[in-house]
């Protein structure tokens, strides 16, 4: 164990306007070992790996490979130093064959013509080494995600890398494919490749990794040998010892009637989801990244298709069947990506606030009543304390917290009885977080059923009346509002249910 680290990243810092992504982060990896890199969203894992992959250049810090310092200015530099990066989003060319995809960054030629025979033969060889028997003239689009990943790995392996980075490699794999991947990783270790394995799935790293490095808020929190730690400890390291803020809402002893009932929901990665939401309660949807929380919210309102399941909604004092599209017209939804899917950035705050309520702001002639619109905007700006210099200010110029308030405000104007919020405090400062959380609690007090997703258990603990715990697309537990932080953490770090083999 005294072998020197093959890869040493030290003191790496990177700041973007308004956001510090890395603060003196460190990472080491030895030949033939797999280091797990873990951390919550925004912890800096991707940025650190982008630095290693030559995609981003750091503001400070050093990288040493095999004892010599290196500068990785471009992706080519990284490749030249033997670094291969298998991204979560595979770089596949769907209509082209497996062989062509494997050789996409360097087609073999003979007399100026692409040497198809060599390409197919070498690609087949690489795939066999990976334990994969794909015919190399299949179009990649006919392959499932597991096989496509094999193609991507084969492409990376062509250059005989010394360092390989895997970014969330198992999110879309079946059990068998995961086994195959793990064997490949073991094989790579035997060949002396240094592996960095980014994942959210704590159980996996105990199977194939030797050490784990945990990041939080842009710095490296700790590095442990796998043998000397436990899943719970890792989750605790990831999420930190943040104080739970004070409780922002009285726990609801008895909630109102059931407003939404979900049974047997299946679609995408979701499997057999059953739960119900009552009026006046805030339910926290808790789980690690990749557990399917966002997918669940999107499926509920029809942004993603459902394969099976029934939804019922209370109308006129009775639970009636309802489609996701109908729920969309009833619910307010604050998505994860407020800039990409929430706001119309060039438009004014007023226009963004009124967008979902336009039909109720009309004059008898059918035109938008500007007075009423302005009144609505002013009311919401006041109620939510949105810092704008005037309702005409373009929403794209507001701070993150205020932007989020605009999104919430838009739905408030429609007085929904169901509110779905996905990571509503992401990227906000402490003060803004509190405000949004208070707003969320107030929504429930007004009689709506509220479902909140957050990756920070402390936040949920400030407002939730109960918790739904998800893992790998299933609801694995329901916990009361009195659950402690430790209980919440162990609910997600315990070995989850296995997905059925494909």
């Amino acid at each position: 164990m005294t072998e020197a680290a093959y890869l040493r990243m030290q003191g790496l810092s990177k700041a973007y306007p308004g956001v510090v992504a890395l603060r003196g982060a460190n990472l080491e990896a030895r030949r033939g070992e797999a280091v797990a890199l873990m951390g919550a969203n925004g912890a800096g894992k991707s940025t650190l790996m982008n630095v290693l992959g030559g995609v981003t250049s750091p503001d400070a810090g050093s990288i040493t490979i095999d004892g010599s310092p290196v500068r990785l200015r471009t992706a080519r530099d990284a490749l030249a130093h033997g670094i291969a990066f298998v991204h979560q989003e595979l770089a596949m060319l769907p209509s082209m064959t497996v062989a062509e995809n494997v050789f996409a960054d360097g087609f073999p030629t003979r007399f100026g013509i692409v040497d198809g025979a060599t390409m197919r033969r070498d690609a087949a060889e690489l795939l066999v080494r990976l334990g994969c028997n794909l015919p190399t003239d299949l179009a990649v689009e006919t392959l499932g995600p597991g096989d496509r990943q094999m193609v991507e790995i084969a492409r990376a392996l062509r250059r005989a890398p010394r360092i390989m980075i895997f970014d969330e490699p198992t999110s879309s794999l079946t059990n068998n494919e995961k086994r195959r991947l793990f064997e490949i990783v073991q094989g790579l270790k035997r060949d002396g490749v240094a592996i960095i394995y980014i994942t959210h799935f704590v159980d996996e790293i105990f199977e194939i990794c030797d050490r784990v490095t945990v990041m939080r808020n842009g710095s490296t929190v700790d590095t442990r040998a796998i043998a000397e730690t436990s899943p719970t400890e890792i989750v605790r390291l990831m999420l930190g010892e943040a104080d739970s803020g004070e409780r922002l809402a009285d726990e609801v002893a008895i909630a109102g009637p059931v407003l939404l009932e979900v049974s047997g929901l299946c679609g995408g990665i979701l499997r057999d989801i059953d739960f119900s939401l009552r009026a006046g309660e805030v339910v926290g949807l808790w789980g690690l990244l990749g557990s399917g929380r966002t997918e669940l919210m999107r499926a509920l309102i029809g942004l993603d298709p459902i394969d099976a399941g029934a939804l019922r909604w209370r109308a006129a004092d009775e639970l009636r069947p309802v489609t996701p599209n109908e729920l969309h017209q009833i619910a307010g939804i604050v998505t994860e990506d407020r800039r990409g899917e929430g706001l119309l950035l060039p438009l004014s705050t007023r226009a963004n606030l009124s967008l979902a309520s336009l039909r109720s702001l009309l004059t008898p002639l059918g035109l938008i009543d500007r007075g009423k619109e302005e009144g609505l905007a002013a009311d919401l700006i006041g109620r939510l304390h949105i810092m704008v210099s005037g309702s005409a200010q373009a929403v794209g110029t507001l701070s993150g917290g205020n932007q989020q308030k605009v999104v919430v405000g838009r739905w408030l104007a429609t007085e929904p009885r169901l509110f779905l919020l996905d990571e509503p405090t992401r990227g906000l400062d402490v003060g803004a977080k509190s405000e949004i959380l208070k707003l969320t609690a107030a929504l429930a007090r007004a009689g709506a059923a509220v479902l909140v997703i957050s990756s920070e258990p402390e936040e949920l603990m400030r407002i939730c009346d109960r918790y739904l715990v998800m893992s790998r697309g299933r609801l694995t537990a329901q916990m009361p509002g009195s659950a402690t932080r430790a209980e919440l953490l162990s609910a997600v770090s315990a070995t989850p249910l296995r997905m059925s083999a494909a």
Partner: protein, 325 residues
Amino acid sequence: MGASIGQAEGRRAGRWSGVDAKLVVTAALLLVILVVLLVLAPSFFRPNNLVNVLVQTSSLGLMAVGMAPVMIAGGIDLSSPANMALGAVLGAMFMQAGGNPVVGCLIMVVAATLVGLLNGVAVALLGMIPFVVTLATMTVATGAAVWLTHSVSVSGFPDSFYDVLLARLGGIPVSVYVLIAAVIILGAAMNGTPFGRYLYAIGINPRAARVARVPVRASTCASYVVSGLMAGLTAVLLSARLGSASANMGNDGVVLDVVSACVVGGVSIYGGSGYVTGAALGALVITLLSNNLNLLGVSYYLNLMTKGVVIIGFVALDGLRRRAS
């Protein structure tokens, strides 16, 4: 209960935001052209000629004003002039056979609107690429018009047709009033109705629009219907002015003029910005550009080249502006 005035970050989106600035650019261009004309060809400003220019602008303007909502929502309608020609031809043939001119006009409008509906359905419901769909519709519509007329222009409108449509109120022809009315009505619709807001939203960010409960497919389809409707109105007015209808009314050059008018008028090809008024002003600029060049003795062919350069230039600038922001 006023707005929370506080330390708002970033610049204000005041009156001179990038969007309004585009109208200013168009207006400035207009001014430049008028000045050049004043200096080089003052005969341009004779009342008769001015009226002529306005009349010419009205047909291009109506189509541009109809295309603006489509472009604002992020689409494009290349078939507008061809729809106009087809509608014109159908109505004209009806009237030539002795039909009632009112019904004839109705046929022109309805035919073009129906083709617009076809475009709308293809784009909004079938998910086809707007450029390609309207290119195909354009070909079919022109083909149909050519087939129906055997490439011969159709005339023989009844007198009442001309009497109404070529009339002048206070010295200004009906077609100019129609254009102004269209600008006012469509402008009001785009600025002041939910439909208009929806189109802007779709053009800016279709994903966000969908989440915000904007009826994306219905609105997109409706925008193409509007374009068809405007093409139909143009058919009526243009047939009256020309005294005949032919398949050639909607040739390639007209398409470029319509798109140019919108682009020069500040309606971005990428969607989400621009005003109906801008499209009308743009039509005026393009008309003046054509006239201008004619007056200066520039050949028709050089005219074409200039137009090609103008449209590419404006879109390039728009693209540069977007990337810079």
